[in-house]
């Protein structure tokens, strides 16, 4: 079931949580909504589910407008950060809840419900846990039960709100791989909200980066990391050095000298601008062709060395990475730099 979001806006009193967001999710896709807190990602997810209502705009499920449908009618699977399991019910009753809530005409028989619960328990690798209570399970197990409960109603789309947010780092990573496998097997159209960039880049087919109620960039993880579309994405995801430059006739200048850039970099209008470049996209040129600079500091960081290089004719520092056993200039030494995949944005 594909999902279309058209010009969704949401105001809370005088403040706007979302400003006219557009997004399309293809059937069977796994999409991450990534952003800092307050970026509107959870609000968007709740609007899709029908738990919140937009001030303007439409949500379409498989091409039909669902904006006026209630939560109950939308048939979405929703997984909450803090599981939201029914603690007075056994695991099996939790999973069966959605099936038993169906109108009598569409409700499966108790025997069918029992079989379906067993299948789902197997699917989330918790076969035999049906008779336990949620209080007797670990956090990771509870979240898997919450997922099984959401899948039980055969949802049109699966929505997960920070599903691993309450778990410790190790369980988080395990569940991440496991969710990806599960998605590949079941093929549900899935949207999940996270503020963890590693999680989004590792897990999703496409990542939607949000900030202040707007979408900054939508793309496959490689694009988001290697070709950030906005300064926000450069700052929020990974690391980047910021170099103030002057753009003259489409060419950035630093201390009066032109900075050579790859041809595919978008150029802003002439005037002050900021050049963004990630440490791993900086090459130290042994042949001396490139931007000249002096090594300001050097330290070992895990399996590599980090260099801070002061560019000639400016105070700007550029971070670069060198293998720990390779050639690297000493502190105070001269070097030349070349930039791959930088970004240039008007200041």
């Amino acid at each position: 079931m594909h999902l279309d979001i058209r010009q969704i806006a949401k105001d809370f009193g005088d403040t706007a949580a979302l400003h006219g967001v557009d997004l399309s999710v293809a059937s069977g896709e796994l999409v991450a909504l990534l952003g800092p807190s307050g970026s509107g990602k959870t609000t968007l997810l709740r609007i899709i589910a029908g738990l919140d209502f937009p001030t303007r705009g439409q949500v379409l499920f498989g091409g039909t407008d669902a904006s006026l449908k209630s939560v109950q009618e939308r048939n979405v699977g929703f997984v909450f950060q803090h599981y939201a399991l029914f603690r007075h019910m056994t695991v099996a009753d939790n999973i069966a809840f959605g099936l038993r809530a169906r109108p009598r005409a569409r409700r499966p028989s108790e025997a069918d419900i029992g079989r379906r619960v067993e299948t789902l328990l197997e699917l989330v690798q918790l076969g035999g846990y049906g008779k336990r209570y949620p209080a007797q399970l670990s956090g990771g197990q509870r979240q898997r039960i919450a997922l099984a409960r959401a899948l039980a109603i055969e949802p049109q789309v699966l929505l997960l709100d920070e599903p691993f947010g309450a778990l410790d780092a190790k369980v988080r990573k395990e569940l991440r791989r496991w969710l990806r496998d599960l998605h590949d097997r079941t093929g549900h159209t899935t949207l999940f909200v996270t503020h963890d960039q590693e999680e989004a880049l590792d897990l999703a087919d496409r990542v939607v980066v949000m900030s202040n109620g707007r979408i900054e960039q939508v793309g496959v993880p490689e694009d988001i990391y290697d070709r950030p579309a906005t300064p926000f994405v450069f700052d929020f995801i990974g690391e980047a050095s910021r170099i103030p430059v002057q753009v003259k006739a489409g060419v950035p200048h630093l201390g009066g000298r032109a900075v050579p850039l790859p041809a595919d970099v978008k150029r802003p209008a002439d005037g002050p601008a900021i050049l963004y470049v990630r440490p791993e996209h900086v090459t130290l040129a042994a042949d001396g062709h490139g931007l000249g600079g002096t090594v300001a500091s050097l330290h070992r960081s895990g399996s590599s060395r980090r260099l801070s290089i002061r560019l000639d004719g400016t105070d700007a520092l550029v971070e670069a990475i060198a293998p720990y056993d390779g050639e690297a200039p000493p502190v105070g030494g001269r070097t030349a730099l070349r930039f791959h995949s930088p970004g240039l944005f008007a200041a």
Partner: protein, 278 residues
């Protein structure tokens, strides 16, 4: 090594705190109750039994426990509704209404009794409406029940209210996304979560009702075998210098109350153990 009596703890003052707690409970609760049982034991079991089996005593005990039970039971749905309204809706005058709930706590019970009698007596504002329909409220067991409903309402409201306030809204939302309508969510998700609080409130309301005296005696009419409550019977026996009889009735009330509260407590601890906090 056998297990230590006290688990080591970083919180200081265990000895002092426990010592004070035991001392305080002893002075305020245990010694008076022990004195009661000691006085009663002077009589011997056969004497207590024969006193308890006196028809007038039996009638009073039955009236007290049955009306108290019914009053607490009646307050469960209505106290729940009041708590629901106070927690879930925002409306002008909410705080005022909230404060009103505590009035039965604060009002001298005799005042409440006189006010209720004035209202519900056959010539009172409300009483005359019922009298026209041939229903008598004041000076009957119904009047006793009414007074007990009045004094025990705050107990249900005040025990359910904070739990309802803390109830995770996400659980309700989860229920909605799974296709459950509002009624189903209330019946299958919210009420079971409130059950331990409801039981506590019920127990407190019941306990208060059994011991209530001031508000009841005015509206009850105190007709032996009809509308005479057990606490009043104790006072009557005391006024007749029948200390043994008073003690016997008191001991029986104590035993029944204790048994019922213990039972409710067991149900609660069972439900806590089972469902824990998720």
């Amino acid at each position: 090594m056998s297990a230590r009596f006290v688990q080591p703890s970083v919180i200081p003052g265990f000895r002092l705190a426990l010592g004070f707690t035991v001392f305080y409970l002893a002075v305020i609760v245990l010694i008076p109750l022990a004195a009661l049982i000691w006085r009663a034991s002077d009589l011997g079991l056969p004497a207590i039994t024969s006193l308890a089996l006196e028809p007038r005593t039996l009638a009073a005990l039955q009236l007290s426990f049955v009306t108290s039970f019914l009053a607490a039971l009646f307050n469960v749905p209505f106290g729940l509704l009041v708590a629901w309204v106070l927690v879930r809706y925002r409306f002008p005058g909410r705080r005022l209404l909230d404060a009103t709930i505590d009035l039965p706590f604060a009002l001298p019970t005799a005042v409440a009794g006189i006010a209720l009698t004035a209202l519900y007596a056959p010539n009172g504002w409300i009483g005359q409406l019922f009298a026209a329909a041939g229903i008598k409220i004041a000076f009957t067991p119904v009047g006793v029940w009414l007074a007990l409903v009045f004094v025990s309402l705050p107990f249900i409201v005040r025990t359910v209210q904070p739990v309802l306030d803390d109830l995770d809204r996400e659980v309700e939302e989860a229920s909605a996304t799974l296709g459950a309508g509002r009624l189903r969510t209330v019946a299958k998700v919210i009420l079971p979560a409130l059950l331990p609080a409801i039981l506590t409130g019920f127990a407190l309301a019941f306990a208060r009702s059994v011991g209530e005296y001031g508000s009841v005696i005015f509206i009850a009419g105190n007709i032996p075998y009809v509308s005479e409550i057990a606490p009043l019977l104790i006072v009557i026996k005391l006024e007749e210098y029948d200390y043994a009889g008073a003690t016997a009735v008191a001991t029986i009330m104590l035993a029944v109350s204790f048994a019922m509260l213990l039972m409710i407590n067991l149900v609660q601890s069972w439900s806590r153990r089972r469902f824990g906090r998720v």
